[in-house]
Each structure stands twice: as structure tokens, then as C-alpha cells.
């Protein structure tokens, strides 16, 4: 099994949203195709893509599920099984929401959870970090803080 890359680098798409190139397939890896996906933390699912883009990938259909939009309306969508690959990583399997209209392909929170990745976004770029690496990093900071005493909190009043 290949080792997990601790850092996967994304970029900002034309709309200024965090994005990434991924490959998607269903049952047969030979059918995989590359897509630019927008990483959307407001989407609770795994992957959402237009149904027309999904046809050539051979994703096995499972049924339906409703999703709730920002205006609280709900809409029934077809659901399928799919695998997502980033770079040289192992595929991550999840539920793909099939959108009947043309739309941006979205990678949601369920993907980050299943891939055990932590999303970092700054003006300098986009990174998907291995969750275990982040945990070790945070533990090291907490240990350092504990050893050096309570961190000083700088406020507007105290900074001068």
C-alpha cells in the first residue's frame, strides 16, 4: 500500500474557490476520468456531479436522496457509488449525488471525513493535509505551550 502523502496541494479556480484535480470512477478503474472539483465545506455529502458527466464513468446507481438547498427547499437526486482519487493516493469510496443540470463538480465534507484530510485555505493557496499529521502538529504545539506556561493573549488593549 502506498504511503499517504501528508500534503496535497490544491489551487483557486476561476471563481476564486478552493479547487483540486481528482479522478472519478465507479466499478471499473479503466473508466476513470479527471475533473476539476470545487472543495465546498457547505456541502455535507461526498461528491456532487452532473449526471451527464457521470454516465461514462459507470457509477452503480443506488437510489435517491433529498438534498436541502440554502433556501431550505429540498430536491430529490439520484445517488450512486463512486471512487475518488487524488494524485497517487488510494481511491476513497463514497456516495455520489447526481445533479440533472450542468453544474460545478463539488467535493464535500463527507469526502474530507472519509479521506481523513484537513482543509487549509489561505490567500497563499489551498492544502489538504493528512489528519494524523495535523493532530501530531497540534499535540506538539499543546505540549510546547504546556511546557512554557499559559500563552499570553494579545488584545487590542494590551498590545501596546
Amino acid at each position: 500500500m502506498p504511503s499517504k502523502n501528508p500534503l496535497l496541494t490544491g489551487y483557486f479556480n476561476n471563481g476564486g474557490h478552493p479547487a483540486l484535480k481528482v479522478r472519478v470512477y465507479g466499478v471499473f478503474p479503466d473508466l476513470k476520468q479527471e475533473f476539476e472539483v470545487m472543495i465546498d465545506t457547505g456541502f455535507t455529502g461526498f461528491l456532487l456531479m452532473p449526471i451527464m458527466s457521470a454516465f461514462p464513468l459507470g457509477l452503480p446507481l443506488l437510489g435517491t436522496g433529498n438534498y436541502t438547498l440554502a433556501d431550505n427547499s429540498t430536491s430529490a437526486k439520484l445517488l450512486a457509488h463512486g471512487n475518488v482519487i487524488i494524485g497517487d493516493e488510494d481511491p476513497v469510496t463514497g456516495i455520489v449525488v447526481l445533479e440533472p443540470n450542468e453544474c460545478t463538480v463539488l467535493l464535500g465534507m463527507d469526502f474530507l471525513r472519509r479521506a481523513k484530510r484537513c482543509l487549509s485555505v489561505s490567500v497563499k493557496g489551498v492544502a489538504l493535509t493528512d489528519e494524523d499529521t495535523v493532530e501530531h502538529f497540534l499535540t506538539a504545539i499543546a505540549t510546547h505551550v504546556a511546557a512554557s506556561g499559559t500563552p499570553k493573549v494579545i488584545t487590542e488593549e494590551s498590545k501596546d
Partner: protein, 97 residues
């Protein structure tokens, strides 16, 4: 989906509608004890499969009924998924009517 699918369930809205009708009969029981869990409802057998994630519920459902058609519900929520990004609402609804 099975190749001999019931023609009544040949479009997603019919599947979702049938699933929601079955869910109405289960709602009180599930909302009392399974809030936040995902439930895959078999449209034909009316059996349901509970999981902590959409994948878990649908994997259990597929294992029990390999040819089944399922409607996914999140207990206590209007939709199984939530999306904040603007997606164009379907003017013509579905490809399969």
C-alpha cells in the same frame, strides 16, 4: 438498479416520493431514537437500514437487498445532504420522466 425495475419507479421523483411515504410511517419511531442517523429505505420491501453515514446505511441495504432501490433519509433533517453553493434549480426537473 435491477434491470427488471418496476416501471412505477423509473424516475427519481417517484422513488423519492415512495420513500418519503414509507418514511412517514417510521418517522415517529426513528426520530425518537435515531436522530441524525442515515436511513436507507427499500422502496419495494419497505425494509429500512440505519447507519452513521450515508455509505454505511446504503452498504447495509445493498448487502441485504442487492437488487433493491433505496431512498436515503437523514433522521430529523429535511434532506440527506445539505448544500450551500448555488445550484441551478431544475426548470425541466428530470431527464427521465
Amino acid at each position: 438498479m435491477p434491470t427488471t425495475m418496476n416501471p412505477q419507479f423509473s424516475n427519481p421523483n417517484a422513488i423519492a416520493g415512495a420513500g418519503e411515504e414509507i418514511y412517514k410511517t417510521l418517522r415517529a419511531e426513528l426520530e425518537a431514537s435515531q436522530h441524525g442517523k442515515f436511513v436507507a429505505i427499500s422502496i419495494e420491501s419497505k425494509a429500512y437500514y440505519i447507519g452513521d453515514s450515508p455509505e454505511e446505511a446504503l452498504e447495509k441495504a445493498k448487502a441485504a437487498e442487492p437488487q433493491g432501490i433505496f431512498h436515503l433519509v437523514r433522521v430529523g433533517f429535511p434532506g440527506a445532504f445539505r448544500i450551500s453553493h448555488a445550484i441551478q434549480k431544475s426548470p425541466s426537473n428530470w431527464l427521465f420522466q
